[in-house]
Symmetry: C7
């Protein structure tokens, strides 16, 4: 470890609050490794709805954690990464949404919510004595237009048309890139998301897919 090391980044990755000579926050890159180990999630946005879905790995005696988290009547989320970190963020998102309702007597927009979470995550990459969250969140909601927003462990927020996150997301993203178009209807979007997720399944165990359809009627959650 202390000899002939070509890995110059080694000494810069043990604290979240410092940069490496390359300008990276390496702890954040390690947090993204935790994300890549989490069960695959996926989202697709159509002109009328957002579809969120995630692979649920059933083990024999222990039930798999939910992949779809209802945040408010008009917003759901899927996530990939550490389950306990996800729970903490989902709880925070739910509380923010309720605070917004109580303060302004209206629903929170999906963008406002994602930005609030992003700010909280960014703070965990800048203040000493904390680690970044090992979770990537994908918010889908409809308040006016459907929105699909990706929140990175570092706090960056990205508007998405369609995206897959977590374990082995490359095949799913390839399918999305090839087959997604902006005029998909709800049924095609569901078909696409299933196809994408199934391409990312790595184990031979029976795996289920949790799915949520968010449209003008609210959120409809089911398991395939």
């Amino acid at each position: 470890m202390f000899r002939g090391v070509g890995d110059r980044s080694m000494a810069y990755d043990r604290s979240t609050v410092i940069f490496s000579p390359q300008g990276d926050i390496i702890q954040l890159e390690y947090a993204r490794k935790a994300v890549e180990k989490g069960a695959t999630g996926c989202g697709v946005r159509t002109p009328e709805c957002v579809i969120l879905a995630g692979i649920k790995k059933e083990t024999e005696l222990i039930e798999a954690p939910e992949k779809i988290h209802i945040i408010d009547a008009h917003i759901a989320a899927t996530a990939a990464g550490l389950q306990a970190d996800t729970s903490a963020l989902v709880k925070r998102a739910r509380i923010q949404a309720q605070i917004h309702r109580l303060t302004y007597s209206e629903e929170i927009t999906i963008t406002t919510l994602a930005n609030q979470l992003g700010e909280f995550l960014q703070n965990h990459t800048q203040v000493g004595g904390l680690r970044p969250f090992g979770t990537q969140l994908l918010f889908g909601g409809k308040l006016g237009n459907p929105e699909l927003l990706l929140v990175d462990p570092g706090g960056a927020v990205f508007k998405c048309r369609a995206v897959a996150i977590g374990q082995n997301n490359d095949p799913a993203n390839e399918i999305l890139k090839k087959e997604f178009n902006d005029e998909l209807d709800q049924a095609s979007a569901i078909k696409l998301i299933k196809e994408a997720l199934q391409s990312s399944i790595v184990s031979t165990d029976q795996e289920m897919i949790d799915i949520a359809i968010i449209n003008s009627d609210g959120i409809e959650k089911s398991t395939l």
Copy 2:
């Protein structure tokens, strides 16, 4: 230690608040080692009840610690890991249950309680200057449907049908997988849990089994 080391994770395991290059919180994995040294515990959920049980290692002059902890009139817990950490968490769980009763004039659900504990545990993996708890909790309760919930030292919460935790839990889990089914009646569940636990006994000392039957009549605790 400083030469020819293949173990790259070495430098990342001395602080709870950082990730290893693989995206793991290694202190948490070490905490799980503490769990694996704790006396074996087990839980089984049937349509009508939850059975919790744990191996109690009697030494000659010192009484073994209780393996069944009553949390509230409808919830009990067994745990594996550091005894002092277990006591701290059990105390916290009891207080949360009472706070819920006083605040809402109703019993806390088993899920709410497990999530509250999970949140507390997650926090101990993210904030500097704390170590994770070296204890895994298994909550069993009946408020409506019977529930069996496993809370990991990292704060993740899992719904279980049947599970064994702690020392040498593999044989017990094997038996559970083979013999558990969702229609067990209470007597068969008790028989199964005893069989599972006995398969995990490692010492030749006389060991007892603490057991709790949680059903509509409340909690019945005994020692076999």
Copy 3:
């Protein structure tokens, strides 16, 4: 790493609050590396207006982050660096501008705003347990005279006539130096800024340019 090292600065770069023997705050230089990875931004000041613009890297399914941030009715900003850090600073700038309006019943000057941000950034290079921000901000505004102000990650504020920041900014700055003069009209300034930015485009992907024209009529934002 510990032998035959010519790099004397090595031990001085792991904490933001110390100087290297050369009198540098090396963490700050690493933060500037993060800036140099951010999508290129550019600003030009004319006697009548300020033009801000930035390259927006479209990926197929994920929309690129905005390069123009409206701060107040008379101030906009572009930035290069970490997206989450940028969001945090942009939010802060917006709040400062509103606080000024509410406190003094008048718009904040661009200089006052840039200095307030600079102070906040300087603080992150002097107090332990924080990292510098990995973002360089370019504020453009018109309150009386047009102003173009660059705020460095270290907190220094520079008055600019024209400047490009972020990834591969050298070609853009070369063009600005050659072609900028203080009597440009708005149309020529827009032409110049486009030319400058296009010279800095590194990828062969389709890239767009976000642009803002800030003059007596307010801020006009568009995408080319």
Copy 4:
């Protein structure tokens, strides 16, 4: 120290708040070493009373510290380990007992008191910037049934029939195991505890034994 080291635990023992790869809190094991250097103490529980006793090492001009600490009218303690740590814990125990009396107008149970101390000790193994206490406490009391409770430096609490702690406790514990039975009367218990302690005396100096008999009449303290 840094070469050819087989001792993998080396790097994990310099902070109380981290686990070793084996799941141990090594600072706690070192604290137990301090306990093993403290003068031997012993306790025996009979159906009617608890006997506590400890070896008091007289030096010529300096009086040995007390081995029996009266906590309340119905509880006494003996301890092994660092004298100053013992004093701090004994003082805390006395205050807890008085707080209980003032709050509930009744005596504190021996279990409640031991658990309160255990909680305090556990906290010193989990929060950064503190070391564990280097003291093991043995509480004896009678409030209803006689109780003998051992509190470990890590905060674990054990119900005991009879136990010896501190320096060279093995011979004493051997004797206790061989000769203790649950029907001892007070006189036999005193005889047993003396025999046990004398077997653990290591020096040839004159050593005395402090003894306390806790029964329905209260606590009777003497020195043999």
Copy 5:
């Protein structure tokens, strides 16, 4: 770094709050290196006035930072070192001057102001978790007699007749030593300060000189 090192101070320079074996606060010496990189400043005191001046390095598109900072109606300052640190200290000086006016209904003396800044700077060399400021301040003012005061990054305050600070100040100081006398009139002082500063110019770029004349009429600022 760990072999054949002659540099004994190496291990003592990574924290501001410790002394080296030679009794030096090495971080402070590094901060002075930052000062020596700052654009040259200069001050001259005559019986009737104080002249402050500084070299302003114009770059083509970015305006050079001001070298003269008005602190109050009767005090100005020039500085050499990190620009953001300078801004922070100048802002503090301005606030202190106004606090004095509001509290005592009179102007702050130049000595009081310099001592207050010195105290603040000293504190940054003694308290952990902070770095010293990388800026040297030169205050000139007239309240009764003209005063020229140098404040070191370590907090020491020196009364000066004439002094040059910052980059390549040796030639300037040589000229001051040779040509300064206590009876200079204002015109000769201005001539001297220009001569001194021009001798310290290192680049071949066009460089300007910011100058301030502080006398009974107040402060007159101009650029040569």
Copy 6:
């Protein structure tokens, strides 16, 4: 230091809040080294009085620090170790004695006072960011029976008949052991303490002895 080191304790002595593998708080042992460098002090208890005395090393132009500290009308102290630490503890003792008088309208007992100081010293061995005190205190007082109490840097309190502390205390303690008996009258005690202290004088400089006689008449201080 990094090679072939036999000294296993090396890494455990740089923080007060951790134990060495042997169960020692090594910083405390180093603090005792500071005690052993302090001028020798001595105390003798008789049935009627306590005598405290200490060697006062006169240098030519600087007066030696007092060796006898009056704490209250009935308590004095001598100390060995760091002078500034001694002053801090003596001041604390005086304040505690006055607080006791004001709170309870009676004099503090010597035991209470010594225990309060001991508690304060113990805390400095357990909380991070503090060093232990480098001073050993010897309190003598008469409130009812004469008491002589030794307070160790670690916070342990010892009842003494006669004891010498500080530099070269072995010869003095040898004499005390040989010649002390519990029926000494005041004159013999004074003679004994002088003989003991003189045996410990190491330098050839003229040294004086500060002495205090504490009996029913109060405290009589003189220098021999």
Copy 7:
């Protein structure tokens, strides 16, 4: 530094709050090195007055810092060491003296003042995150009897008849030892202090001596 090192203290000098194996606080010894670099100061006490004096090193364009600091109408001080640390302590001493006047309506005694400063300095050697002050203070005053008190960076306070501190103080102290006697009159004391200081002058530059005569008439300050 890391090989064949005989210097065992090496690892113990980087934090103020720990002892070396020899019982020394090495940071304090380094602070004393800073004292030994400060311009020489001197004090002499006579039956009627105290004389304080210090060498003032004039440089050509920068005035030397004052060597005599008036603390109150009856107390002055000279100091050797870091100028900014001296200023901080002198300011503190002045405030303490005024607080005493306002609280008790009488002048502070020289001993009380020196002890208050000593306490403050001691604290800087015991609490983490601070460095000791690099300044030695010599207080002279007359309130009743003349008093000359030396306050060490570690906080120890010494009563002096005559003493020289700072750079090259050996020759001065030799002269004081040889020629001082307790019956000096004021004129002889002034002559002695000049002789002593002149023997310690190391440079060939013109150096002045600041002097203060403190007697029943107050403090008379002049420069020789």
